[in-house]
């Protein structure tokens, strides 16, 4: 299966938290939601999953505006399913 959707989310998160941390961060959040990178689709980006990803990412983001921006982009990604 393609990991394109997973990679897209990682790529977005990496912009804010850095490439070194983004992959692990997203993997852990998907594991908590019992999702795998291979089978991940944008429809899996539910409110709960988005909230967990954004919440963890926010720990690495000092700027509030950037935190909000990531939240919006994740929501837009979810809407593009």
């Amino acid at each position: 299966m393609s990991k394109a959707n997973f990679d897209a989310v990682v790529k977005l998160v990496a912009v804010y938290v850095g490439a070194a941390k983004a992959t692990g961060l997203v993997e852990r959040r998907l594991a908590e939601a019992k999702l795998t990178a291979d089978q991940f689709t944008f429809s899996d980006l539910t409110e709960s999953v988005r909230s967990r990803i954004a919440g963890a990412a926010n720990l690495y983001i000092a700027e509030k505006t950037q935190q909000d921006e990531l939240g919006k982009k994740l929501a837009a990604m979810s809407a593009s399913k």
Binding site: G18, A20, K21, R28, R52, G55, L59, Y60, I61, A62
Partner: protein, 450 residues
């Protein structure tokens, strides 16, 4: 410089260190190649000198023949006019060849006004040689081909200029300083002994002609002949025997194997030359001592001509072989230069590759550490911020706490793995760090606990 290197990455700094060590290698390679180039240039100069001497030898040969014909085959005699005209034509062709050689190599061999003046050889030019010959032929034409004593002075002028030109090219082409034993000894033949021998035999004919013209030899005639015989033996035959034999012996001990053409072609022409010159020595001694000469001038002249012809033949074969030996040297040094350049490039490429691999092995864990530390610091600040907010509000947000623990635990694992790589980098794989220990990873225990 100090400021820019302060901001340079560690990879750039290590590259700079490697470049510093490569610099002496490059400089040494430059000097090695440059030194080889000097040797090649040296051999090329010698080849140029040899090329310039070839037409000069032709001038010597044809002028001496012309001189002999003018004396012993007077123009009035049947067939002699044609022979003298042919000899003159041969001299003209040889002079044209000298002109061509002068245009090609004159500047290189310093046949320039400045180069000649520095050595007090201002008259040793191709133009002067030609002019001297033309004035000789003009004087000869004016006398209607009847020779007198003045002509020999003219011939001596022409031969003197050619001889000085040979001396000059020997000096400026470095032939005289040849660095290899076989060619060094052989150059003595081609540059000194044989040209000297060719002129000596002409002088011997002239002396004998003069002596025979007296009817009975005077004491001066006998003394002159005895001196000629002694010099021919010691300065030409003995000298060349030593040089030729040494050249043949040393030819086997050079950077190349014995050169077949040199080993096969030189001994026969040398033997022939040596034998005919030894016969001339014996005949000259006999003339200088016998109460009555046992031979006519014509017989003596024929012996001397044979010795002279063998001398020119020896020179031609010797010159050809000298060119072969010099070309071998050029090829050898060209090959050495190519090999030196290739090996230097290879050594530089290998050292650069090793420097790159070592640099990368050091830079990769450092990069990982740098990429982990910065977001890690933000993570700690973010975690503290969230915990403080929750504490201030008096709420217990389990989800946020789990996230914080999960991320801190993952960060701790990253740090531990990177620190381990850093330890390997600093202490090497053979030496454990003083406080090396692997505490259990926190991610699972914390996740499980929360």
């Amino acid at each position: 410089m100090a400021n820019s290197s302060h901001h340079a990455s560690i990879g750039a700094k290590i590259f700079l260190v490697s470049a510093c060590f490569s610099l002496p290698m490059l400089v040494l390679a430059y000097f090695v190649v440059s030194n080889i180039g000097d040797n090649t240039k040296f051999a090329h100069m010698e080849l140029a000198g040899n090329a310039y001497q070839t037409p000069l030898e032709s001038v010597l040969k044809n002028v001496l023949e012309h001189q002999r014909l003018v004396h012993d085959c007077p123009a009035a005699t049947s067939g002699c006019t044609g022979k003298i005209a042919a000899a003159n034509e041969s001299v003209q062709q040889a002079l044209a060849a000298v002109r061509a050689a002068d245009q090609q190599y004159g500047a290189t061999l310093e046949f320039t006004a400045e180069g000649l003046a520095k050595r007090g050889r201002q008259t040793a030019t191709a133009a002067n040689l030609e002019q001297s010959w033309n004035s000789l032929t003009a004087a000869l034409a004016a006398s209607q081909g009847v020779p007198d004593a003045r002509f020999d002075t003219h011939y001596d002028d022409v031969l003197g200029i050619a001889g000085t030109m040979i001396t000059h090219l020997g000096d400026t082409s470095e032939l005289i300083l040849d660095p290899e034993l076989d060619t060094y000894h052989f150059v003595v033949n081609t540059l000194n002994t044989l040209p000297q021998n060719q002129q000596r035999t002409a002088h011997m004919i002239s002396t004998a002609r003069d002596a025979f013209s007296h009817g009975a030899f005077t004491i001066e005639d006998r003394t002159a002949l005895a001196i000629h015989a002694a010099l021919l033996q010691s300065m030409d035959i003995d000298q060349s025997t030593g040089d030729t034999q040494t050249a043949l012996n040393e030819n086997k001990n050079q950077f190349h194997d014995a050169v077949d053409s040199f080993q096969n072609e030189i001994p026969p022409v040398f033997k022939k030359w040596s034998e005919s010159n030894s016969k001339l020595v014996a005949a000259t001694k006999e003339l200088s001592t016998a109460a009555r000469p046992s031979m006519t001038f014509e017989q003596y002249s024929a012996l001397a001509q044979k010795a002279q012809q063998d001398s020119f033949r020896f020179w031609e074969i010797g010159d050809k072989n000298l060119d072969t030996l010099l070309q071998l040297r050029v090829n050898y040094y060209d090959h050495r230069r190519t090999v030196s350049l290739l090996l230097s490039t290879l050594a530089l490429a290998i050292s650069s590759l090793m420097a790159f691999l070592v640099t990368r092995s050091m830079v990769v864990p450092l990069n990982k550490l740098a990429l982990t530390l910065t977001p890690g610091a933000t993570l700690l600040a973010g975690s503290i911020r969230e915990i403080s907010n929750a504490a201030e509000k008096g709420i217990q947000d389990l989800e946020t706490t789990k996230l914080i623990c999960s991320e801190l635990s993952a960060h701790a694992d990253d740090m531990r793995a990177t620190a381990h790589e850093l330890e390997l980098l600093v202490f090497g794989s053979g030496t454990p760090s003083p406080q090396h220990s692997d505490p259990p990873t926190m991610s699972k225990s914390h996740s499980a606990g929360l």
